[in-house]
């Protein structure tokens, strides 16, 4: 370990340090409401390190800095996700303040757990080695399980138990898959795995070029399927989302999902880039995509609880995102090789601002009404004009109607599917977006047309207002002018091109 390795790890280290400081500070600080501001301002430190790494990469020109015995790769792909996680974490902390106030004690631990989980996610985006991937994944999941059970009441602890048990089962399945890949190739380094698979040669008569690889890859897809809540591994999501504290639900649905896709892209593009394999795994992802979006959207329709509805909507969005993984183009055709990954990164950026806006509004409103039921959102247009407008814009963006960012990201990812010859998948996605309009618009209708249950206005504290306004501005701005975000995603995805050279 050298100083350079520490520098490569600096965003993660400063994030973990910040979390530790918050726990200690919680012991001394009388005014607990300052903790949130300390957390948010402290996030500037990892952000600064990440920016400095990005600038360093630009100056360097190599596009990649490897460190810690080749287990860690700092490149624009991982930095894109680090920015995304830092931004989401800041938004989650800001929207949590009111919720956390009700806890009384343990406020420092609450923020610290969020930051520890974010540390795991940032690490996950840069790891290039199976053991480190597993450790980072657990560092991501375990704090979230504790957070889900944080309220310690009946629903919250049930939600934590379900998340922990299913996450542990999926980890075991994932590990079994990783071990088979390790056994077949004799290494846990992703690039080395690709090289050795190439050396051994893919066997044309066996799926994935060998039964051991078939078992390994399928089990790994199953394990990650749990993490991103894609059908048929989605059953934990609705219960966990409903029972967990709402800011934690937001964190799960935005950051956790982005982390899952970061590592899926990294593993499948770096370790299994061979054309014979990529055509087979892209077929698996295509089926998962269409199943996820259809089931998510259809089951969301009868939901009465808004958190449960957003959980099913999240499953549907996992389906749209998987379209990007299915769009792994055949090398022979002169298509845009990185259309799929670019689409996923762009989608995750747009989805993050949209979902944070939606959850921010839901948190503020249900803090006041004490209920997550959709009918209790009646008349919110009069009781909380700003929050109702934010929620409306976010739901419109989730549906994918212009001029919101939701439209742009969907257009991009379905375009990537068409480019790689998956027109049927793009059509399925478009049809699904139409179905989803039904349940999203229903919430808007309740807010604007139903009479309010009470006339009392819904307060929105300053941190919350800041968070939802920024998120709403993002939704609207990138909806009209998506070029900066798209260019950012394209630059980040270009890192994966190195892997495709084989």
């Amino acid at each position: 370990m050298t100083g350079h390795d520490l520098y490569l790890l600096s965003p993660e280290l400063s994030m973990a340090g910040l979390a530790t400081i918050l726990v200690v500070l919680d012991l001394f600080l009388g005014r607990k409401d300052l903790l949130a501001w300390v957390a948010v301002l402290g996030l500037l430190l990892p952000l600064g390190f990440a920016i400095s790494l990005w600038v360093g990469l630009d100056r360097d020109g190599t596009g990649q800095m490897a460190g810690l015995f080749d287990t860690l790769s700092v490149d624009k792909f991982s930095l894109f996700f680090k920015f995304l996680f830092i931004g989401t974490t800041a938004a989650v902390v800001l929207t949590s303040t009111d919720y956390v106030k009700r806890l009384g004690r343990l406020q420092g631990e609450y923020y610290a757990l969020i930051l520890f989980s974010a540390t795991g996610m940032m690490l996950l985006a840069s790891t290039t080695e199976l053991i480190t991937i597993y450790i980072a994944l657990e560092l991501t999941a375990l704090p979230v399980a504790a957070l889900a059970a944080f309220m310690r009441d009946s629903r919250s602890s049930e939600s934590g138990m379900k998340f922990l048990i299913l996450s542990a089962i999926s980890s075991a399945v994932l590990l079994y898959g990783m071990v088979w890949v390790y056994g077949y190739t004799g290494t846990t380094n992703l690039e080395e795995i690709a090289r050795r698979i190439g050396d051994v040669g893919l066997r044309g008569d066996q799926p994935f070029g060998g039964y051991a690889l078939l078992l390994g890859v399928v089990l790994m897809i199953a394990g990650f399927g749990f993490k991103i809540a894609s059908v048929p591994f989605q059953m934990w999501a609705p219960d966990v989302y409903e029972g967990a504290p709402t800011p934690v639900t937001a964190f799960l649905s935005v950051a956790s999902k982005a982390a899952g896709f970061a590592i899926l892209l990294r593993i499948f593009y770096v370790a299994f880039p061979w054309e014979a394999m990529s055509l087979e795994w892209s077929a698996i992802f295509a089926i998962l995509a269409v199943a996820s979006m259809t089931l998510g959207n259809l089951v969301a329709i009868p939901q009465r609880n808004i958190k449960r509805m957003l959980a099913y909507s999240t499953i549907a969005h996992a389906g749209y995102l998987l379209v990007g993984l299915a769009a792994a183009t055949s090398r022979a055709s002169e298509g845009n090789l990185l259309g799929g990954p670019t689409g996923i990164l762009f989608y995750l950026g747009g989805y993050a601002v949209t979902n944070m806006a939606a959850f921010g509004a839901v948190i503020a409103i249900s803090n006041k009404t004490g209920s997550d039921r959709i009918e209790d959102f009646a008349g919110m247009a009069r009781r909380a004009p700003l929050l109702a407008a934010v929620l409306t814009l976010a739901l419109v963006s989730l549906t994918g109607v212009p001029p919101t960012v939701g439209f742009m990201v969907k257009l991009n990812i379905f375009g990537a599917a068409v480019d790689s010859g998956l027109t049927w998948l793009a059509i399925a996605g478009a049809l699904n977006s139409v179905i989803s309009a039904y349940y999203y618009v229903r919430v808007v209708k309740v807010m604007y047309l139903s009479p309010p249950a009470a006339e009392e206005r819904v307060p929105s504290p300053l941190p919350m207002t800041v968070a939802v306004t920024v998120a709403m501005a993002g939704v609207a701005f990138f909806g009209v002018y998506p070029a900066p975000l798209l260019d950012f995603a394209r630059t980040a995805a270009a890192t994966l091109r190195i892997a495709l050279i084989f």
Binding site: A146, S157, A172, L175, W180, G183
Partner: protein
């Protein structure tokens, strides 16, 4: 006793663990079944690192370079990490089961149905 026997033991234990984790009612039993799954993974990792990896080693045992040694031990290092993380997972799991029990006087996962509707 060859490679196949060890892999078969691993696969059988994994399947028993998975079956138990998905069908048992008691949350504690479910956690124990998850431990079985991790154990199966450990057995497989150690077996593969012992039998499959040293292909270069079998050809010329004298030429054990540091490189080969590193790959040789990867599976066993993996196992140590899995044991450690699994312990953390169970500690947290038991704490959460305690919280559920305090609320509900039951550790049966089939009773955890508050949010079905």
């Amino acid at each position: 006793m060859g490679l196949e026997s060890f892999l078969a033991v691993g696969a059988i234990i994994f399947c028993i663990g998975l079956y138990g984790a998905l069908t048992k009612r008691n949350a504690i039993t479910v956690l124990m079944c998850i431990e079985l799954m991790f154990t199966a993974v450990n057995i497989t990792a150690v077996t593969l690192s012992r039998y499959v990896v040293p292909a270069g080693l079998a050809e010329n045992p004298a030429s054990v370079s540091d490189d080969v040694l590193q790959t040789l031990l990867t599976g066993q290092v993996f196992t140590i990490f899995i044991i450690t993380v699994a312990a953390a997972e169970v500690a947290l799991g038991l704490a959460i089961v305690m919280a559920v029990f305090k609320n509900r006087e039951s550790v049966f996962v089939t009773d955890a149905t508050e949010m079905k509707h």
